[in-house]
Every structure is written in structure tokens, then in C-alpha cells.
Symmetry: C2
Amino acid sequence: MPTNRQIRLLRRPQGALTPDIFEMSAGEVPAPGPGEVLCRVRYISLDASNRAWLDPRPTYKPPVAVGGVMEGITVSEVVESNVEGLEVGDLVESFSGWQDYAAHPGTMVRKIPAGAPAEHAISVLGITGLTAYFGLLDIGKIVPGERVLISAAAGAVGSIAGQIAKLKGCTVIGSAGTDEKCRWLTEELGFDGAINYKTADLGAALGQHFPKGIDVYFDNVGGPMLQQALLRMRMRGRVVCCGAISSYDGQGGAGMRGIPELLVVKRLRMEGFIVMDYFSRRAEAEAALMGWLADGSITNRVDIIDGLEHAPEALIGLLTGTNIGKRLVQL
Amino acid sequence: MPTNRQIRLLRRPQGALTPDIFEMSAGEVPAPGPGEVLCRVRYISLDASNRAWLDPRPTYKPPVAVGGVMEGITVSEVVESNVEGLEVGDLVESFSGWQDYAAHPGTMVRKIPAGAPAEHAISVLGITGLTAYFGLLDIGKIVPGERVLISAAAGAVGSIAGQIAKLKGCTVIGSAGTDEKCRWLTEELGFDGAINYKTADLGAALGQHFPKGIDVYFDNVGGPMLQQALLRMRMRGRVVCCGAISSYDGQGGAGMRGIPELLVVKRLRMEGFIVMDYFSRRAEAEAALMGWLADGSITNRVDIIDGLEHAPEALIGLLTGTNIGKRLVQL
């Protein structure tokens, strides 16, 4: 019988994440009950929101339990099945977390789309691609010709969001934390411009790239970039509140100034969303994204870290921006 | 020939408004040119936004010019007319400002609705009523059964907004700055509860009145009440950003915490608006409001200050909350 390696949360982080709050242990491989499948995890999705799940206050889900297996979205292979319609060998999306094996009711896993490689299924066709798609189109309601700012643009969500905005006829500027990322955005992904937020004067850079103001800001970071973007928003602009990576990792951050005054005067809309709210419309997004992937309109870059044991440092790196594109752990 | 008393802005305010930044002078009564009417001002609307117009930075309109006549919405009587369709004796809505007389092109004035007394025309059927109507219904998108918080609820906009929310089947709690105002809200206007924000612990009071959270917050004040309301918003709640009276009068205020984190996790929408954007739909709102006035469903309280010379202190008082209902200056 194989063992089930598991990475557990030993204690809640105090401030910035450190690897010592996690511990790897060997558990038993669970036996799937009636109506369940046994999943062998192949890829773990690392997401900035994972950090927020570690804090004691609930987010859009309860916090990860201290002592429990670290949670995460996964693509797994079915290795035993008590579920009709799910066969051994099927690849499924599951919420198995940072471990080798997990048993789930058949209703809690979802076959990945036919013809989709596992790395696409857990990135551009998974949570991150759907987040980009619905955030930009449904919350941002972009219109051709509009000027769009995307933060964390070299990340999993931002890189897809920026490419969709270009496909829809917008002018797109991305922000990222290294010159290499900025070059990737403009030279490979077709962004109209990029801002290295670590070296630029944000206000001046936004003024230069958006002389007429920002119509839609797809915000993955919060903090100073959101503050500067608010000052630069155009009349009737929209801020898609997707995430706040700048504040997840223990940095409380200053309060946001100009709220609500800027919203009133410029008739701005700021709106938050969680991609799960859109799962009923998943087929629509999947069809569009698969089409764009197939005809080469969008590039999906994955950043694969090999080995479960490296998941903690891979997540820590993600929070400081060492990834380009979607970071996955491969088991 | 009568003189034209005018109140001019001598200099921009530094911090809280003081009467000495205004000066009354006597000017000439203008002669209406071709296509113009001469207006004799009867009522001046005092609004919290007047304060924001005095600061050097533009709001949704250019600032009041130093040396110029203080601006304001008015109801005037036509006393000379070179415009077909506007007769001497007609009452019109105009933007004549703090003076006895002003000449305007016929296209810049609007006859008040037939059968509407002037005091209604400049309050519940004017900017403030329209603001309440469109803010609550179009931005707030209230649904029967929802729980609604209104700040500055004993003011011109808030008192109408709260009554509309009640008519639409919502539970409505208002905040105001005196016990007398709170009693007026609950005993006369039918609010389900009221919070004296000057004496209450805001967080505790909101917790008590909204055990399940706030669905829609109609925000006229910004500042600490907005901060506490954000913490108490319910999933998919909406914040109608109508004004920020707490920050208009020279108090910068602390930054707003939890932006954008609270918006993301609770899928909140915060949206600003300016009533002028809705003028194309004015007839719809007017018809509804006139109907509710006629059948007694809503009460329109006006707070009339007599004499142009009292306008400065009346505005200062409005900013500190000495009014109940819509404050007007009668000339």
C-alpha cells in the first residue's frame, strides 16, 4: 500500500508566510466509500488566495484548520471509483489539497474537459481563467476601445485577463514586479504597455500610460496600486475587485483615501466577486477560452514546481512574485 | 430699479466653513438678452455638496469662482421674458445662485411641474428627491424584504430615500445626529429604527439593528459610518455612494480600511452617482414622487430660512446638521 504524503498547517502564520508553519507527514491512503472516488493528485494549483485562507477570519470559505491538510484546488487522476461515469484513469478537478491522495464524493469532482491537457485544466480552463473571463467581462463590462489596467499582470489571472481585453479591442497596460515580466507582457502577450511597480513612480506611470484616464482597472493587488488607479480612473470607470495580494501576507496596509469621494464625483463602480458565483455559466467561458487557446489567440504559461515537498516555498514565492504565469505543483 | 443683492465668495475656506468667506454686495439687475428670461429668485436650495464646490479641486462641476456669486439651485419667478413659452409669473427651476436676480437663456431654466408648490419643486421633486429615487432604485437596486441603512436620514435626501425604501417593502434603519431627528424618523416617517451616530457605538448599533447584515447602504456621509457599514454589509450588498458630508467641511478623515478585501470576500458593489446623469429619466421619478406625495405615502419636510442674508449661516448649520428635512432659503 502506498503512503499518502500530506502537508499540514501546524499553526497560523504571523505576518509574512514562513515554511515552518507547514509540516509534511505520512498518512493513510483513504478508502473511497460508496459514491466516492479515490483521487491521486497530479497538480496542485497555487493561488494568492491560499494565503488568505490561512488567517483565522473567514474569507469566502472557512479558514484552513490548524492541524489539517493544507487546502488547494487540484487536478487528480481517478485511481478507484465507486461512481458511475467516473472511470479509473479519468482526470478530474477536485479540491484535494496538498497531499497525494484524497477520497471525494462523485458530486464533488468534475471531469476535465475532453481534449484539455491537465495543465490547461488547472489554469486557463480552471479557476484562474474563469476568474479573468468573468471578472473582465461580467464585472468590468469592457467595451472595445476602452483603456484597461491589469495589476499582477504576469500572474495567472492577470495574464489571461490582459489577453482577453486585447481580444475585445481594448488598450491594455499591465503592472508587474520585474522588467522580465514586463517584457513578457509587451513582447509576447501583446500588452500595449507595462509598468514595473517596484521601480516606477506609480502615479506618474499611470499618468503617462493613461493620459485620458483608466476605464477599467482589473485589480489583483489592492494597496498603493489601487490607490493610484482610483485617482486616475475616468468618469464612469469600473474597478474589478478580484484580489488584494498586497495585503494578504501580513501587511495590513494604509487605509484607502478618497473613498467614497472619488466614487461619487467620478461615478465609479467598485465591485468584488468570487469566481465560484459564476460556476453555473462555466460552459460559456470554457468554450470561449478553449477556442482562443486552439487558434493561438491566447498564450497560457504555466510555471511548474516539481514535488509536493516544495509546495510551501512555491507558495511563499508566489506571494512575492517569483512566478510568471500560473504556478502549479506537480506530483 | 430694484437692486440685486448678491452673496459672493471672498476667498476659499480653510477647513470648516466660516461666514466671513462670504460678502453681500449690491449689483445691478441684469437685462435679459434675446432668448433669455429674467428670474427673481424665490427659494435657494442648500445642499451639502455646496461645500464641496468651494474647494479648489473640481468635483462634478468647476469650483465656485473666488469673487463670483455663490452658486446654488433655485426656484425663481420669471419677471421678464424674451422666450416663447415662458411667461411672466411662471415658476422655474434655475441655477441662479445666492442673489435676487439672474438672467438665463430659456434653455437653462425649466418650468416646475404643474400643481407642484415651489417648496416641493425645489426639494422632493427637485434634485434631492431625484437623488433619493435614482440612488436607491437604480444604483441600490433594492428588493422587497431587504435591510437598508440610510445615513443623514433626517436630511433632504435621506428622509425621502428612507420613505421610498419603506414603500418598496424594505426594513429601513436611519442614522442622524440628534434624538429629536431619530424620533422623527421612527415616529413620523415610519423608519424601523434609528441610530444617533453622535452618541451610539456605531459598530454595536449596526450589529443590533442588522443581525443578518446590511443589504443596501445609502451613504450620504462617508467616514466612520461607511467604515462600520462596510464591516456589516451582507453578501452581495450594495453601497450607494451618494455623498460624503463627513469629509466636505475640511476634515480629511482617515483612509477606509478593508478596501478592496471586504468587497472581494462579500462580493460587494460600491457605486457613485450624480443625479444629473439621470435627468433624461426625470419624468419617471417625478410622476412616482408626485403620486406618493398626493396620496400621503411620503412626507416632505422643509426647513425654511428667511432672508438671503442668512444663507451663509444656514449652509454652515446644514453641514453640522441643524436642519431637519430640506433646508431652503426663502427670498
